[in-house]
Amino acid sequence: MSETVKQGAHKSYLEETGGRKGIFKWILSTDHKRIGLLYLYSIMTWFVIGVALGIMMKLELIAPGKTIMGAQAYNATFTVHGVIMIFLIVIPGLPAVFGNFLLPIQIGAKDVAFPKLNLFSWYIYVAGSILVVASLFAGGGPPDTGWTFYAPYSFKTGTNMLPAVVGAFVLGFSSILTGLNFLVTIHRLRAPGMTFMKMPVFPWTLYGTAWIQLLATPIVGITLLMVLGERIFNIGFFDPAKGGDPILYQHLFWIYSHPAVYIMILPAMGAISEIIPTFSRKTIFGYRFIVISTLAIAFVGYFVWGHHMFTSGMSGTALFTFSILTFIVAIPSAIKVFNWVATMHQGSILLKTPFMWAASFIFVFLIGGLTGLVLGALATNVHVHDTAFVVGHFHFIVFGGTGFAFFGAVHYWFPKIYGRMYDESWAKTGWLIFFIGYLALYGPMLYLGIKGMPRRYFDYLPEYHGPNILSSLGALVMVSGFLIILINLIRSARHGEKAEANPWGGTNLEWQISSPPSLENFDEIPTIDKATYKYD
């Protein structure tokens, strides 16, 4: 994309320690790349805990009746699983890890606009995470409300709501500050010649995400404070006995939490938009439409929160409005899928691991998207609301979307991050096992939901047994695949073959500099003279 990138013989950012030793060269560094990796390691730690809780739930559901835990323990397990997975992993996931590592490089900058604030955001993230995980162990037992903390139960339950709610509140600050940092970085630090329409898609999706982080997160912050107010001071915002309105809580919660789905999915779409052109050896199809659809998703995503509340008792007018708006948001998402497939069409496809993740992302995202239409339609929603169908749909979108894109991104940028190649055959084996396990785990949930199995129950009727066995076995297969992937990546980061600067033949700026990059990325700020994704 630029012919003027200059790289001297500098030490890589991994060798450049600033005179610090041990853990201090990480936790005191303001280098955006090291901060990205700090997020990666923290997120992967919590992910292992979240997966362990998920496996416990699937083991409980392997047979009807009590298997390994009772009702209360199950309620606590799905709550903490949800809180960890959503607030600690999926929301910060791609923006905090790959956004931090790649945003400055992809726009031709030496760092983000506020490096110290960036490190501070990670500290806030760690503080919030510890509070959330502490809720597992402190006082009255883990929270049991579900990750949505619905009122009025959330201020009446005797379990550890305070650390979980305060933790989620604190995590919001990290998200807001990261979003602010990225917005200013994109507006002020783009290299000369990099107009907005020459910017790669990944920074564009980070831009859309950053606006959501900045504008929507404060709403959930205030809402969680209101729950604390209810618990501590008995104010009555959401308590019908005091003239409060519990549906107001749901409005406030979802005004943030639906856009939060786009915080999760937009950067995932950005990563996929990077991987597909590189491995198709083709300029991305309809760049302008992809950019516009990114902004459209970020914008329209603000107005569709009510589809989470179709059975809550909202007015008919609101139900109708939210249903229409939900169908509108499907349009830009479908545009993206069309553009990815069109990019692959007649391309010289290279079947490497990142591409396998990207292709399987499209497959599972389609299932998630189409089942989303079932939930967006009022008539069908009432039948499957709060059933296993919703859990299946949600995991196809959030885990299938963000998770697959995350693993694709890890493999795609692994050579750039560590300067080493992962083992391709083990990576593909891990992907295949993971993918098979994934479909076996979540596919039966859609069927069970249609058959009427409710979500969030530790027990079920005998006729649901067969699909539940398949789902639980699928979980074990998927975890086996995950372990292969994890071990391969950890081993390769130390012992993998040395990577070239551009092992995949990518066209964006990160592939024009050494692997791993130097501390300041570029000797001189590059001048951008070509459009992005140009394969001559």
Binding site: R188, H251, I255, Y302, G306, G313, M314, S315, T317, A318
Partner: protein
């Protein structure tokens, strides 16, 4: 980056705006003594809105800043209004 112009607001003007904000705060307390029933919230929000506008325009320099920032803040306010409007589609028609 080109050198940007800085606008300096006089102390006199800042104190004037501070005075207006204090008066409006007293007014928002005073009107709670009047029985406005369903209009009470609207009156309170109206006064709060006027106060926010003064803070944004004068204390936060939006009046003297580049047009792009005014547009950004305007869009955000529009977004909040749309969100409130949609929420009202539930409350008003329930």
């Amino acid at each position: 980056m080109a050198e940007e112009k800085h606008h300096i607001i006089s102390y006199q003007k800042l104190l004037g705006v501070l005075g207006i904000l204090i008066v409006l705060t007293l007014l928002s307390v005073a009107i709670t003594e009047i029985e406005l029933s369903r209009w009470a919230t609207i009156a309170a929000l109206l006064i709060a809105g006027i106060k926010s506008t003064f803070v944004l325009l004068i204390f936060m320099h939006l009046r003297f800043d580049q047009r792009i920032f005014r547009v950004m803040v305007g869009l955000i306010i529009a977004l909040v209004l749309v969100v409130i409007f949609i929420t009202m589609l539930d409350f008003m028609f329930r």
